[in-house]
Symmetry: C2
Subunit: 435 residues, 2 copies
């Protein structure tokens, strides 16, 4: 008995977050958090569907929707889940490189790769739903060989081979069951960006930071990069509220050149930042390495805009970051995430995936649980971003308890949205947009 | 008196080149050479228009067309040419970073950046037409300060500042007039890929190579990467036809992993290749550097898929290539090309832009003429790709004399297509596609 994907739909879903300046930073002043929302319909008698999304911030989402349609016609409709997952790494290679014409407009980057992520993640969602498990558990229950079969090692073999990856996974198998129980009881450590948006007033920021401390958060992130005097003022406020034992992170959202990043972080060092995130261009591996050398011991974090495994390979090789912030929907879906997680384990760099946006926390909770239980086997320097927006639109919203992510329980990849939300926020004809 | 851009159109133009396997290589077996063709209409009483294109190979072109429309609405319609060109570097920054929402689906890469190239190059075409000069001459006649004002130095200042760029340009000013005369008389050296396509039989390859030698070509490129035994066999044929004094280049079109590239090139070294092009992932700066170290003295060439100036900055910093093959329409148009040309001069790396496809030779002839006359002032190791397809569709097709590009004469950026070609190859409703 096999499950055939009979139809693929892609919906343009946009939330008007720019109205409240939620999510505002030095690069992204007015974002409408958006999703290219993919549904895989199947011939399953149970009505099984797969849901995946890619995250954008408004305009441009229409391009990802069109790209999903172009890919789906060639690679998805008419395929069976069993055929795809039997050699998922090979299928992933097919979708990113199997049509040279579509590959050309990436390759493996930008619109076409964002669209790939939505489709691939929808397939994982479908697979997990069929298996009756959340994705993190589906992964945890796989053998090293099964996991490695999901990975395309093209362009990676100079740093990681399938055999090495299997050995890495095998090494930590003994403690898996105990770590799974630990996560189910205690959850995975999170951090909050909720107080730190650049569009918020300093008063609002202080109030939110105070509330975050009261809620048990031990790590808080501040947006910087528009004006250094403002950054210093806000860091002072946050330190007043956090004290010096809690961690303060900073995020410049790509606004600085290399020397400027060093100069500004030397000023902000007075407030003991744990990391500076996206200090410069996301493509600048060597620039990040240079900044990292010059601002030590402040850590460098980046990755939410690193577009594929080849970029991450170089971040690892060049010792360009201290925290690997892969994005579950900018990488080409979970298969490529697995490749990066495995490289991170080899290079000993903690994975702290991108949260925030819409749906990213939903995805990323699965990734960190899997990484801790089955790959990294350590919580050292590992925290998952938490942003308190739009969760009400998901069928199973994330659950935070005293600053920790509690594992999702429903089958799938945790991004299935409520039908009423999909209708209301459909762009441009949903109720939210025509009013 | 100013010229206002009143309307922007983007047309999906596709040539069915896959029928003849023209342009076939190890990665791109069946390409339909295509263009997202942009026309800027103006209020000029002379009926002045600007034309630009981005090159794709078929499917996916529809995404670039849509992206042009999204960008044009925000940044092009209603603007004056004078306002744009007064501070063209700042305008370029605005189009790539001024709308955070559209930036997100790149940033500065993939579909949105390809679309940016088409628009930006159309503006250069318009500017040059208004000035009554081909683009190479428009550039040559600018002062160093005027040229540098066209460049956005964001993310580049750790390796090149505007002041340094001006000094670089100033240094070679004395010989400019003589080099311009030289080019007008003798043209710029080219090389041909016409014989080397992977889809051609070995017999056809030999015939074409023999003809190329007879036509005066001194450099010829072979496609490799599908099968090493075939590559070796074909290299032998080409050496038989070329002899050992002419240069033989090889192009793997991204098909190898790092170690595999080294291994294969050590075998192909017997045929004395001048360069290996795109041996691995176009994003893998450090991989190219590693390959280069290990296959010396064979040169490494890459860049046609390097998506922005930040990638090129790193290729220069890491000493990852011997030949900088920037692409005039994958970079975000001529402003970004200028940034890369200036960095190349600083690092002493020859620029051999990507030709081939449709329209790329047309663009690139302007770039190499400008580079030689006003920036690099050297012809050493500099050759421009020539591919003998589709030239008949342009108003002023490139002119080759004994293996050298003769400078274009008509005002503009040389990519204006004939109206009848635009009609015939319009996808999907042009005569070529409905028959």
């Amino acid at each position: 008995m096999s499950t055939t994907i009979t139809r693929v739909t892609a919906r343009d879903i946009r939330f008007p977050t720019s109205k409240s300046l939620d999510g505002s930073d030095a690069m992204n002043a007015t974002s409408d958090y958006s999703a290219t929302y993919v549904t895989l319909e199947t011939d399953s008698s149970l009505g099984l569907q797969g849901h995946g999304l890619t995250f954008t911030i408004g305009r441009g989402n229409e391009l990802c929707v069109e790209a999903v349609k172009s890919l789906a016609k060639l690679f998805v409709v008419g395929r069976t889940l069993e055929d795809i997952t039997a050699n998922f790494g090979a299928y992933w290679h097919e979708i990113v490189a199997g049509d040279c014409q579509l590959r050309w407009v990436g390759p493996e980057k930008g619109v076409i790769h964002l669209a790939t992520a939505a489709i691939i993640n929808a397939i994982w969602d479908l697979w997990a739903k069929q298996a009756g498990k959340p994705v993190w558990k589906l992964l945890v229950d796989m053998s090293p060989e099964e996991l490695v079969r999901c990975v395309d090692f093209t362009y990676l073999t100079d740093v990681l081979t399938p055999e090495e990856a299997i050995a890495l996974l095998r090494r930590v198998e003994p403690g898996k069951a105990a770590r799974e129980r630990e996560m189910l009881e205690q959850g995975f450590p999170g951090y909050t960006t909720a107080a730190g948006w650049l569009g918020y007033s300093e008063e609002k920021m202080r109030t939110l930071a105070r509330a975050a401390v009261a809620d048990g958060w031990t790590h808080l992130k501040q947006k910087v990069g528009a004006d250094i005097e403002q950054d210093l003022r806000r860091a002072r406020i946050l330190r007043e509220e956090l004290g010096w034992d809690r961690k303060l992170m900073m995020d410049a959202n790509q606004t600085w050149d290399v020397d400027q990043a060093v100069e500004n972080m030397r000023k902000l060092a007075a407030f003991d930042p744990w990391w500076i995130e996206e200090p410069t261009s996301p493509d600048d591996v060597l620039g990040h390495a240079e900044i990292r050398r010059r601002i030590h011991p402040i850590g460098v974090a980046t990755g939410e805009h690193a577009h594929n495994r080849v970029m991450f390979k170089q971040f690892f090789q060049a010792k360009a970051f201290d925290f690997c912030q892969l994005d579950p929907a900018r990488l080409g879906g979970l298969n490529e995430v697995l490749a990066v997680v495995l490289m991170a384990a080899k290079f000993g760099v903690p994975v702290c995936p991108h949260g925030g946006g819409v749906g990213l926390c939903q995805y990323s909770q699965n990734i960190v649980l899997f990484d801790y239980i089955a790959v990294a086997a350590s919580l050292e320097n590992r925290v998952l971003e938490y942003v308190d927006h739009l969760h009400e639109n998901f069928v199973e919203p994330i659950v935070i308890r005293r600053g920790r992510y509690m594992p999702p329980k429903l089958p799938g990849y945790s991004v299935t949205m409520k039908e009423q939300s999909l209708d209301r926020f459909a762009y441009p004809h949903g109720a939210e947009w025509i009013s």
